[in-house]
Symmetry: C2
């Protein structure tokens, strides 16, 4: 049987017991030009919260009654497709389910002979690509820049900070809790970390970036975005990648009250969607893999088990109870 997580009802605020329903169906049959994937790992990303709202965005909302959209990685176990062979590892939008049928569109074979499969949902997957293109193309990072990143112990933020270090920047990460902050400085080599749960972020940015900041990579929005805006250097760039503090609170969403700091500092705030850079993924992945092999780019995955634990695991994105990339193992 195939266990599938179905969107039952659009949540208001944080998803709850009424949001999804777990359904069991027979493992689907494939037709000519298709192949069957057994998913091993499902990617859990903050962006998934946005896909559940019935509003115009960069991607169609998930429809009620559909399998919840998610990135996934697994193995081809049956194939009537000329380009995909049984035994191949494939990643793509294969959804929160144990088995998926694909016609090859939006499915990508990966070579996991050198690195664990899970890396292709994290540092070598969407989060890694988001960090790379957000920092390089939107943030236009330069050697010597002061770079601040929020959600710094997460799948995207942890990579942003490490790439900025590789590029010769002074890097400060904002994360929740001492353990994460220690990880940023001691394991990932950030210059400093700010614990937003115990520190005044405004003051802490002032202390760790006494001359202000050149690039702020924002994953969280809210008051932390305002704190960063208050410390911009001239011609600073703010990369709008996410606003996780606001995703469950759309009706009372906060805008940055001090956005006129953009004027005072001739600064730029720019939004990004990683899919726009799809053509350049292979080149970025190669560079990232090189950094990994050279020991300059580390990554962590928090792996939980069981498709029936999806909802509980998903919440960790917002409570912060995980380190690095959040994954759900769905193969029995």
């Amino acid at each position: 049987m195939n266990k599938q997580l179905i969107l039952k009802q659009r949540p208001k605020g944080m998803p709850d017991d009424h949001t999804w329903i777990l359904k069991e169906s027979p493992i689907p049959e494939i037709h000519e030009g298709e192949f069957l994937i057994q998913n091993h790992y499902i990617s859990l990303d903050p962006a998934m919260r946005g896909w559940m709202n019935d509003s115009k965005s960069y991607i169609e909302p998930v429809q009620i009654g559909d399998v919840m959209r998610a990135g996934a990685i697994g193995k081809v176990i049956e194939s009537k497709h000329p380009k995909f062979q049984v035994g191949q590892t494939v990643t793509g939008w294969h959804g929160v389910q144990q088995y998926a049928v694909s016609n090859g569109e939006n499915s990508y074979p990966v070579d996991d002979s050198q690195v664990p499969m899970t890396k292709f949902l994290g540092v070598l997957g969407m989060p890694g690509m988001t960090a790379y293109f957000g920092l390089m193309e939107v943030g236009k990072v330069q050697e010597g820049d002061v770079v601040v990143v929020s959600g710094a112990a997460g799948a995207v933020g942890s990579v942003v900070g490490q790439i900025a270090k590789i590029k010769g920047c002074h890097v400060v990460g904002i994360a929740g809790g001492k353990q994460k902050c220690d990880y940023l400085v001691n394991t990932l080599g950030f210059d400093a970390a700010i614990d937003y749960k115990s520190q005044n972020v405004f003051e802490a940015i002032k202390e760790t970036c006494p001359k202000g900041l050149d690039v702020y990579f924002d994953n969280v929005g809210g008051e932390i975005l305002e704190a960063a805006l208050s410390r911009l250097r001239r011609h600073a760039r703010i990369v709008i990648c996410g606003a996780i503090s606001q995703y469950n609170n759309l009706e009372n969403m906060k805008g940055p009250r001090n956005y006129m700091a953009l004027l005072v500092n001739r600064a730029t705030m720019q939004g990004m969607v990683v899919m726009d850079y799809a053509e350049k993924y292979p080149q970025a992945m190669q560079e990232m893999a090189g950094w990994m092999l050279a020991g300059k780019l580390q990554s962590n995955e928090s792996v939980f088990e069981g498709i029936e634990n999806f909802q509980e695991t998903f919440k960790r994105l917002f409570t912060g109870e995980k380190l690095g990339k959040l994954l759900l193992k769905v193969i029995d």
Copy 2:
């Protein structure tokens, strides 16, 4: 005697009777390397409200006890400076006063033989330069773009819209009241105008820009900025030039709650300060003067009289009771 307007007290909210004091002093004597200017017109600009706050900005705040900073234009009436002759027309930061002494720094001679002196505080002055560089260099306007500008009947906005028309754009202006909206469409040639006092701006942008907008030039902030954000096209550019709706309300300043539209639409919000483009002013003024002579660029000045009427006149910036550039004639 020299009548001077002195900053007496920093206002909270809208300036009032306690904000400035009118002082009479003897007309100052000049020393070697200086010249004396008799101001004819004082420029009244929304940015002046910001200069009165004691906070970090792109320019030093006006100090208590100092002459209120303002752009002005007048004639040299006495000179011990080799480069400035009696009878010359000069513009610069000469302040809200009838006579000013200058050593030539930040004073510029202008040739007003072809156009009235007042134009050098408006369309050929800072507001005109702001419109030109904001639209061209920050807005990166292209032929065929849909351009929306707020404060559209003001000194900056009216020029923004006309340059955008010259560049082959579809132009929509947002202004307050039927008279201004008629002026935008019938006199300045905008494609459409939105009266924010009587229309729902969100709906009106939707109607006048059915495919969304490419450039939004913001002079006002607040809910109008939010309405514009809700209708961005992909890769849209928002030029942050001002936020007049918020200047008297700094403590409860509103941020754009839907700034995540920047992400969805891969859009950019960028602040600008016109002084950054000072080196390119001559070239821009030449192009603007050409458009004026060709009848493609019109401008209006609302001139009020008497330095003692400064405060009352200044309020018109915020109530909107003026059309185009607001000036105060201070020569008796």
